[in-house]
């Protein structure tokens, strides 16, 4: 009887894990590509971006039971990924990051390399703010949550980043944002 109970327990646990895995897999498929692209615009290294995004999703999986109940698990995984990306850039700041090849697929349509280089020259937190605002279209409140800083800091970073980019790209910055 004890053995039957134990088998039943195992089956219940197996079913629970299967459901959990399904939910996680769905979330992963939905969010991983976007997160890895966002990280790419911060670290400018495709392999590293995918590795960092993957690391963020591993941490998510380890806490999935809890984080999946959050209102915005997508913000949680971005927060982890962006922090890892910032740390990675800071670790390598002695290396000429911009001299590394921007690894894009060979069948890529024409990309604005000047823009990517200019973004890459921004301080890493400015870069993260710009990417979250213009690429992910995240509102300021979410960027604050993801970057773990104050609203005023994000606004200052965005303002300074626009100013730097306008000079680098010889464009006129129009403050369409806070």
């Amino acid at each position: 009887m004890a053995e039957i109970d134990a088998i039943q327990l195992c089956e219940d646990e197996g079913n629970r894990m299967a459901t959990l895995d399904d939910e996680y897999a769905w979330f992963y498929r939905a969010e991983y590509p976007m997160v890895s692209r966002t990280v790419f615009f911060v670290v400018h290294d495709r392999a590293k971006a995918e590795d960092i995004a993957q690391e963020a999703f591993v941490r998510l999986l380890e806490r999935w039971k809890r984080v999946s109940r959050y209102e915005r698990p997508d913000a949680w995984v971005r927060r982890v990924a962006i922090r890892l990306a910032i740390r990675s850039v800071q670790r390598e700041r002695l290396r000429p990051v911009l001299e590394r090849k921007l690894e894009l697929s060979s069948d890529a349509e024409p990309v604005d390399v000047d823009l990517l280089r200019a973004v890459g020259e921004l301080p890493v937190r400015h870069r993260a703010a710009i990417v979250l605002f213009y690429f992910e279209d995240r509102p300021i409140a979410e960027i604050v949550h993801i970057l773990g800083c104050s609203e005023s800091a994000v606004k200052v970073w965005l303002h300074r980043a626009r100013k730097s980019l306008a000079v680098a790209l010889q464009e006129e910055a129009v403050e369409d944002a806070p």
Binding site: V58, L104, L115, F135, E171
Partner: protein, 215 residues
């Protein structure tokens, strides 16, 4: 073109060129998590390095184990093997001290492996092979056992193919001598974890020490 428009267009055009292999990534994420569960918690790299420095002279030299082609002699099932395949049973390794564990990690991967894994106490690994199912558990003093890899296995002659729940396949050559099971990794399809080849973890868990039958 206004800067803001150029930013939006530029990011989205570039993003379309980045198409990660999501299914491969999903398989890999499961593998990475299992690795974490094998030996968890953090350790200060400096402390680890100090330990390594202290014991490096007495540790086994395995820096080149990745290229090691040694294979054990052919299988030699014993009379003590229970019904099923010759390797069916519950097997455990001796307790591996943290020093032994650290020196078993190739130096170029030591920091990365140490960053997220528990090498602060001794550990032993338990392997259960029964009715085509396989499970690996790690045991540490004063801590609850941690489930590691698990899945199905098939024995073909002197080889055993293990497949985990994500479909990742590992092939080992096995040898039994008395109550001792020795495994050698022949094939490992799992991707790297944080730049550390999966082969490193396979070595630490399955190859570094022989298993002794406990049931």
């Amino acid at each position: 073109m206004p800067l803001e428009q150029r930013l939006r267009d530029g990011f989205h055009r570039s993003a379309r060129t980045i198409v990660p292999d999501v299914e491969a990534g999903l398989r890999d994420v499961g593998t990475r998590r299992r690795r974490r569960r094998v030996v968890r918690t953090t350790v200060r790299v400096a402390a680890a390095a100090a330990i390594v420095t202290g014991v490096i002279s007495i540790g086994p030299s395995i820096a080149s184990f990745l290229d090691d082609n040694r294979v054990p002699a052919g299988p030699s099932p014993t009379a003590t093997a229970p019904p099923g395949t010759p390797i069916d049973g519950r097997w455990v390794t001796p307790s591996l001290s943290r020093q032994e564990y650290l020196v078993a990690i190739p130096s170029k991967y030591r920091d990365e492996v140490s960053r997220n894994q528990d090498v602060t106490v001794s550990v032993s690994f338990e392997l259960t092979l029964e009715d085509g199912r396989w499970a690996e558990i790690e045991r540490r003093p004063d801590r609850p056992p941690v489930e590691g890899q698990a899945g199905t296995f098939v024995v073909h002659g002197e080889r055993v193919r293990m497949t985990d729940s994500t479909g990742t396949t590992y092939i080992y050559r096995w040898t039994i001598s008395g109550d001792t099971l020795t495994l050698a990794v022949l094939r490992d399809t799992a991707g790297p974890t944080g730049g550390v080849p999966d082969r490193v973890f396979q070595h630490l868990i399955y190859e570094l020490q022989a298993f002794t039958r406990v049931s």
